[in-house]
Symmetry: C2
Subunit: 100 residues, 2 copies
């Protein structure tokens, strides 16, 4: 786990926001639907994109960034990709700060 890459991923308002949204999806994505919505696998890209106000491609890339550094997990189901916080990595990040 590269510390610098991790901090880079967090050094963006939108990506940070996404991480917080994903902390309580029910709260931040009220119009969840079973189709592409609230399962324990996470939230699909479209919901996150609409809420963010940025374009689809940008959000897709941001999610990919968060995934690459391990901050979220990705699960493809049918045509949707569900993203979910990876609490393990986030916890590790806490420890990392302590070693700083």
């Amino acid at each position: 786990m590269d510390q610098v890459e991790l901090f880079k991923a967090l050094a963006n308002k939108t990506r940070l926001q996404i991480l917080i949204w994903l902390k309580s999806p029910e709260e931040h994505f009220p119009d969840y639907e079973p189709a592409c919505g609230s399962t324990d696998v996470g939230v699909c890209v479209g919901y996150i994109q609409k809420k963010s106000g940025l374009t689809q491609s940008t959000i897709s890339e941001y999610l990919s960034t968060l995934h690459r550094v391990g901050l979220v997990s990705a699960t493809r189901v049918a045509q949707w990709t569900y993203y979910k916080r990876n609490e393990a990595t986030i916890a590790t990040l806490g420890n990392l700060i302590d070693t700083l």
Copy 2:
């Protein structure tokens, strides 16, 4: 305290390194001298610069960045500026991760 700015400051190998060096100056700057050296106000720019291998201007700017976001304190004494970790901010950063 702007979270994004804080993460940006940490999203750099050298700046991260400096923060770790400053954790135990005696260990990382063995050729400390009283003149520009080990006091409780911190370590002067020159020592950090030499250890880093980057130029004076770059390190000066990096330290300024760390200072701007509150990760280090700066104390000017004579012609030297001593930089020191700001443990309070670093602790706050730990809490920040928890709220993430």
